[in-house]
Amino acid sequence: MATSESIASREEIGRQELMLQVGFIRSNTFRWASAVAGVLAVFVVVLFGFIYWKIDQYLITRSDRMIAQQIRYIAELPPERRINAIEDHLAQDSRSVQFAGLFDPKGNLLAGNIEQLPEGLEIGAPVRTVKVARAERKELGDPLVRAIAQRLPNGDTFMIGRNVDETGEISHVVGEALALGLLPAFCLCLLAGAWLSLRAQKRVEEVNQRVQRIIAGNLRERLPHRNVDEPFSRLAAIVNGMLDEMETMITALSGVGNDIAHDLRTPLTRARLTLERGRTNATTLEQLQEVADKAIAGIDQSLTIITALLRLAEIENSRRSAAFGSVALHQMVREVCDVYEPIAEDKGINLGVRIADDLEVRGDRDLLFEAVANLVDNAIKFTSAGGRVDLELAREDRETIVRVTDTGPGINRQETEAVLRRFYRSDKIRNTPGVGLGLNLVSAIVKLHGFRLVIHPGPGGRVEIISPDGKLN
């Protein structure tokens, strides 16, 4: 079993390596490297071509100048020394690139190594390229030469030329240099590309494996990153930051899930027990009805929790700011007070309202009403008879504030953040009925509006919804 597994894994590794090889040729990095190598090659070829062309031009100009000097020199000699001079000139040329010819007016060769005056060579014209016929060693063929001709005072015609095939040699040399330099450079380029591509591929593969593990549920996994300022590492660091945040959120969420399960189970358990006991013990219809009522109450409580949760999700997910309008807070606060006045009175609580001015904010009237009503509801619930609850609308420091204060126990400094957690209920008030999502709702509504919810620590409750000026949602 172990052997077959190891074979399988070896095959797997082999397959992966092959995939990697195919992958790196197709990879972008490698393509870029090839493109750069290609461009470099073209550039080098053009450069060398230019150098060749320049050298060629230079050599031709130089040899033209020499030819012109030589013809002038020989033409100025007295006629009897000319033939000797021509023969000397040709004899000194070991590479047999020099051509010359002295012809009498009838066109017979008097001295030199050319059979006849080349065609197309105009007498007295500047240096040009013509084809000459050799007088000796005809097997070498008729070369192209740069030549010039001149009529001498005695009627003879003198022509001198120089083979510029040397430039061909130069092009050969240049080509060789090109091959020696360009080929390794090109290969180096490809190699670097392949290496970079392979490296990137490997890192991507490494990241992929880690990501697969994260997808499989291992939320602790992080991407590899070296502490160097390099794009790949920076990217990994950014993704790791995101993963940290998500892990925290997911952990928090699962905590919420547990809370929900717990809070739902309590009333359901009670309902179940009631039904079970009623089924065995109830003897009259009235008793059975009483049991059913109790059970329904328990189920209703569970449903209330679910409704509250759905509502919370609805507010948190809504992007309703498009439907925002101007909300007259002074009217709204007065209305909340109006609604809760009798409730406070029944509990023996004094509900007061202070409105500084007619103030308006941009928002959803119904949601803001719900938020403020929730705060007042809470305040009344946690204040005992003889206490006070105050609802206040104020302007302070370029901010519009709705403040709810009460003479109840308030919230501990340690608890000011915890109360915003779902289902959080302070131990002190565990026995007070309630779903425990009220402040979450308020917080979600406030957040949706871009306002701030501030919970001041006790004694005495003090909660504020703050709308800063110039807040355009």
Binding site: D293, I296, L303, T304, T307, L310, R311, E314, D338, V339, Y340, P342, I343, D346, D366, E370, A373, N374, D377, N378, I380, K381, G434, V435, G438
Partner: protein
């Protein structure tokens, strides 16, 4: 006998609703999908309809919209598992129809259907009368027999709403929506407290009570016979 068309795809829910409505003297027709439902609504001409929002074939709101296009004005109660009241539903409510979120109490459903069937007639009269109660909409005054009753604005609105729907069961949710304009259910029993005060004022000592609390359901303003 009022005829009610029920369009609901869950047969068990449909059976419960049908049984309950039949017990209360309604004639109920049931369709399990939107397309048949729409046909039945056109051919049967029911007095009211109960339509589930999510239906196979054609969704509930589309059925209603199709009916409205044909100028069929049958009042509709929409049932939905979605708590979110979106713009489409809001438009529906403006047309006098109603919306109920699942799960709901049966009494709530019955009360709302009855309310839909007995929509108050828009009268030009400026005085509402129920038994010895008299409410003047212009003077904003209320009298029971010869006794004047002083009401706060909210109490006045509550009594007006109840007088327009006398002898009808009004659930807390209905009152919250219609009188308080609440789009949510508050933690405290607001309605009971306000109703308690109103009842205290309307039913004085020695008077025969007119406002009745129906246990686990809501309130009724009964005409004294």
């Amino acid at each position: 006998m009022a005829k009610v068309l029920l369009i609901e795809d869950d047969s068990e829910t449909a059976e419960e609703i049908t049984a309950e409505l039949t017990d209360r003297g309604f004639e109920v027709e049931w369709s399990s999908n939107g397309i048949d439902g729409l046909d039945m609504a056109r051919s049967l001409r029911p007095d009211a309809m109960i339509v589930d929002r999510l239906l196979p074939g054609m969704d509930g709101l589309t059925v209603i919209e199709a009916l409205r296009k044909d100028q069929v004005r049958t009042p509709v109660l929409v049932l939905s598992a979605l708590g979110a009241v979106d713009d489409r539903v809001r438009g529906l409510r403006m047309g006098g129809d109603d919306y109920l979120t699942k799960p709901f109490a049966v009494v709530e459903l019955i009360a709302r259907i009855e309310a839909l069937l007995r929509r108050p007639v828009e009268t030009r009269e400026t005085t509402l009368r129920v038994g010895p109660l008299e409410l003047d909409l212009i003077e904003r005054t209320v009298k029971r027999g010869e006794r004047r009753i002083e009401l706060l604005p909210r109490e006045f609105r509550l009594l007006e709403y109840m007088m327009r729907r006398s002898d009808q069961l009004l659930t807390r949710a209905m009152l919250l929506e219609e009188v308080w304009n609440y789009k949510f259910v508050p933690a405290t029993n607001l309605v009971d407290v306000h109703m308690g005060r109103l009842r205290h004022k309307v039913d004085g000592p020695g008077d025969t009570p007119m406002i009745h609390n129906v246990r686990g359901a809501g309130f009724v303003l009964r005409t004294l016979s």
